[in-house]
Symmetry: C2
Subunit: 339 residues, 2 copies
């Protein structure tokens, strides 16, 4: 009755071997792949890869429950480039050009004349009042849907003057990895930017994996208007509703998100208050700044730059031991298209 017995141990061995292979395969698959391959090893990368497990490991003294894992990121200069000007200003100038035929008087009238002739010196001299006039002429008086379409079209066709690529190519590869790493660890990632909320929303989901409802930005007042029976629109008015910069960042975070971030990243003095607000929460917090130090691959600027000035926030970061990324030293790659 037992002639078959000798076969069973062989089967058992085979199963054991298969199981071992499965286990080894599993162990191999679970070997920690570097979640931030474009970050050079060093104190900056370590500050991130130490922090995240510290707040996400159950039983850790610094554990943060998943629903409280809020990470906020500035956009211009933190997730994508901002030179030679904020990209939204380049968009506005391009809009002036596109609308010039319908506005012949602009040829002789500042600030439009300067925009039409790419006279950057004159534009700079016209300062904020000039800038606001250009913004009003190009960003208001149309519906939210019309504006979203125009912004999306521009991003699909416009090319950056230095790199001759779509502006959405000029995102930072290390920050894309960081966004994905935070989300893989249960964080909800938000943009908190001084840029226009409706300029960003048409493309942040595709580019960053951040959906419109997780984008906080500056805005114009909109007005609900019934254009025809059952056809309402939201009209963008000339009135500024909210400036999501400096003090506005914690105010915007409170208004839109309603929770204090555990993790925040910026690059300029406009982000100082967001980092302070993040730091003032109880429990472990992470505050980071991108310092633009790489004139070869990107740009080098800080205390004296008119765009993305990093001065007071830098001093505060040093005093308080926040993470300061040295782009040249800490990033293997800047843009996804870098070799």
């Amino acid at each position: 009755m037992h002639p078959a017995r000798p076969r069973f141990p062989r089967v058992v061995k085979a199963i054991a071997l298969a199981a071992s292979l499965c286990w080894l395969g599993g162990a191999y698959a679970q070997a920690p792949a570097d979640p931030l391959p474009s970050w050079n090893d060093g104190a900056v990368k370590k500050s991130i890869t130490d922090f995240v497990p510290r707040v996400t490991t159950e039983g850790s003294a610094d554990f943060v429950p998943p629903d409280q894992r809020i990470a906020t990121f500035d956009n211009d200069g933190t997730l994508w480039a901002e030179q030679p000007m904020y990209f939204q200003i380049i968009f506005a100038i391009d809009r002036v050009k596109a609308l010039a035929a319908k506005n012949p008087a602009w040829k002789k009238k500042q600030p439009f004349k300067a925009a039409l002739t790419d006279d950057r010196k004159a534009l700079a001299a016209l300062g904020e009042p000039g800038f606001l006039q250009i913004m009003a002429a190009t960003h208001t008086g149309l519906t939210t849907e019309e504006f979203a379409g125009i912004a999306a079209d521009w991003l699909a066709t416009a090319r950056h003057p230095r790199f001759n690529r779509p502006y959405t190519d000029l995102v930072y590869q290390p920050m894309l990895e960081l966004l994905a790493y935070m989300r893989a660890n249960g964080f909800k990632t938000f943009i908190v930017s001084g840029g226009g909320i409706e300029f960003m929303r048409p493309w942040t989901e595709k580019t960053y994996g951040i959906p419109p409802e997780q984008v906080v930005g500056s805005s114009a007042v909109t007005r609900y208007q019934m254009r025809a029976r059952d056809r309402p629109v939201l009209l963008r008015e000339r009135k500024v509703e909210f400036v999501d910069d400096k003090d506005g960042k914690p105010e915007g975070i409170n208004r839109f998100i309603g929770r204090r971030p555990v993790f925040a990243f910026g690059n300029s003095d406009g982000d100082k208050e967001m980092l302070e607000w993040t730091a003032a929460g109880s429990g472990a917090r992470f505050m980071g700044l991108v310092h633009h130090t790489d004139a070869v691959r990107e740009w080098a600027y800080d205390r004296n730059s008119p765009v993305g000035r990093l001065d007071k926030a830098w001093d505060e970061a040093v005093r308080r031991g926040w993470t300061v990324v040295d782009m040249k030293r800490d990033w293997k790659k800047v843009f996804p298209f870098d070799p």
Copy 2:
């Protein structure tokens, strides 16, 4: 060499039997349980249970990708009760009483005198200016954190005058089921309410499963202030920032969510514009209203009610074939504590 063979079919049979049992067990577990057990069968329930699979079944002409599944719900009168007054007004009156010792002049000064003596007639006669004075005195001049603590404390201790229960018990069981049903089908559920955003956020997650960042509401201006070195606060100022009612609802949806809802539920004329905005999107849309028809289990009110008036929105719903819930007819249970 084949003496063991006869044993194998038995093993195979055993495995087949086990597999069948597993399959049957699985099939049994997957038998469609009613996701809306507190809704009576009828056209209203059917309008919901027809719509949801229509927009969530891949290949359906009306399929909506998961990232676009936005569902918005009014709060007062839609998710929880709003009689005899909006609960936030009862909170404000209770705050006047709590602060009376520190403000002795209030005893002789309207509208505080009326609040302190529960003189509802006088309060009604003082109208909106009186109401705004009470709101300013009780809702501003303190930090966002102080306010959240006070609101949470009040909800933990205050009792509704008719039901002698915490106000958060007066949520509608059928709507809790609807929120869960929408989320189970990939919808992100948002509150879009005229109520104060910071009055709602401390409790919506626990009560409705809606996190703070998915609550849109009315707000006061906040101001970032450094109270001590590295100790910033957000101070609630006396200035109204945003009224999330009527026209404000689509404006708030656009500002906070940045996408048009596919599904929206309200109960009063304050929700008309939200439903119109939802209806004006392309593709399948669902618009619903709760009509308060049950004076026994809840309250009955509509066209002539000073709280939660349902008049123009009702006419529009009838004209356009939107879903109108008759609370008495369509809901088996109103509150979770109902038998």
